[in-house]
């Protein structure tokens, strides 16, 4: 990965750490509206392995948010890396070029 992109991913990790340490736990805009307009009871809790960016059965909430944030970043990088690998990209052109040189 290009150094600049690595720098941005590191910045993302720093933001995830900050989110674990000082993020506000107040309800967000939609949750607030759902409470004040009385449709909060209709909403169902989400599903997933890290609900609300917490690892269940892990005692420290801040650390748990940081870890789940970093795992999320890894998942996202992995998805794009997979797309890149699946489309096979540079390797194929390199093969063509070496074929051309060997002629």
């Amino acid at each position: 990965m290009n150094k600049k992109y690595l720098l941005i991913v590191l910045l993302a990790v720093v933001v995830a750490i900050l989110a674990g340490l000082i993020s506000s736990s107040l309800p967000d805009g939609l949750e607030k509206a759902s409470k004040s307009l009385g449709f909060a009871d209709k909403t169902k809790a989400g599903s997933g392995i890290f609900i609300d960016y917490q690892l269940s059965a892990f005692p420290f909430p801040a650390l748990s948010t940081i870890i789940s944030g970093i795992l999320g970043i890894i998942i996202i990088v992995f998805i794009f890396k997979s797309i890149s690998n699946a489309t096979h990209i540079g390797e194929f052109l390199k093969k063509i070029l070496s074929l051309e040189k060997n002629k």
């Binding site: 990965m1 290009n2 600049k4 992109y5 690595l6 941005i8 991913v9 910045l11 993302a12 990790v13 933001v15 995830a16 900050l18 989110a19 993020s23 506000s24 736990s25 107040l26 309800p27 967000d28 805009g29 939609l30 607030k32 509206a33 004040s36 307009l37 449709f39 209709k42 169902k44 809790a45 989400g46 599903s47 997933g48 392995i49 890290f50 609900i51 609300d52 960016y53 948010t65 789940s68 944030g69 795992l71 999320g72 970043i73 998942i75 996202i76 990088v77 998805i79 794009f80 890396k81 890149s84 489309t87 096979h88 990209i89 540079g90 194929f92 052109l93 063509i96 070029l97 051309e100």
Partner: protein, 236 residues
């Protein structure tokens, strides 16, 4: 403004998922087209018949330019993801976080930016319980299509007259406002809440969040342009 499960009528959710998928499909086609076009002609010409076969038979085949672009999307995607985890308090007992639509669209171009936001939303709903899986189509429509794709063109128009920073600020504010209005309209129409009340409640809160979005997006994009990232989807 991630809509959870249970608020929207399932039929409407399915319809919105199709609409979001259509826009995403268009964006993927546009990005692929740009990446295939970026393969230097000389390389393909030098490779003779083999290259002709590749360009004709497999449009999937792209170059290291594409690999580079996908890694850039991964980097911006992870930044938007972690920024969305960071909730800051706004007035009256509410919190907000960055949406990142304009950040992604200006850093990567509108088509790649929309794909990135959609993938971030999918990851959030599948792994983190942030936004329901049933409501994923609606959330993609609000934040990826309205908050990123459409809002990018506000930036695009304003940038030419008023410059980079003003364009980002106004587009960021409107991306949050328009996305929250779209979210409120969906809940009003396909849920059982009064449409007028939910629109006014949502847009009032998100006007404040939008101001924070504008400031944070200016900060982030000026940082990205200071490290010569090559903004607006320019292929390196």
């Amino acid at each position: 403004m991630h809509i959870p499960n249970g608020l929207l009528d399932p039929k409407a959710s399915a319809g919105m998922a199709f609409a979001a998928a259509a826009v995403l499909g268009y964006c993927i086609a546009k990005v692929r087209q740009a990446l295939v076009a970026a393969v230097p002609e000389s390389i393909l010409a030098g490779a003779g018949n083999i290259a002709v076969n590749i360009t004709q038979s497999s449009k999937k085949m792209v170059s290291s330019i594409a690999e580079n672009h996908l890694m850039k999307m991964a980097a911006i995607g992870s930044l938007v993801f972690s920024a969305q985890m960071f909730n800051f308090p706004v007035a009256s007992g509410t919190s907000g976080h960055l949406l990142g639509g304009i950040l992604a669209a200006v850093a990567l171009g509108p088509f790649s930016g929309t794909i990135v936001i959609a993938i971030v939303l999918a990851v959030q709903s599948m792994f983190f319980g942030d936004g329901g899986i049933m409501a994923l189509g609606a959330n993609m429509l609000n934040m990826a299509v309205v908050g990123t794709f459409i809002s990018y063109y506000i930036y695009y128009v304003l940038k030419q007259r008023f410059g980079f920073n003003i364009g980002i600020a106004v587009a960021s504010l409107f991306s949050v406002l328009l996305a929250s209005a779209a979210c409120a309209i969906e809940i009003g129409l396909f849920g059982t809440v009064d449409l007028y009340n939910v629109i006014s409640a949502m847009t009032l809160i998100h006007a404040r969040i939008g101001i924070a979005e504008a400031l944070l997006t200016i900060l982030a994009l000026n940082f990205l342009s200071s490290i010569d990232l090559g903004l607006e989807g320019k292929l390196e």
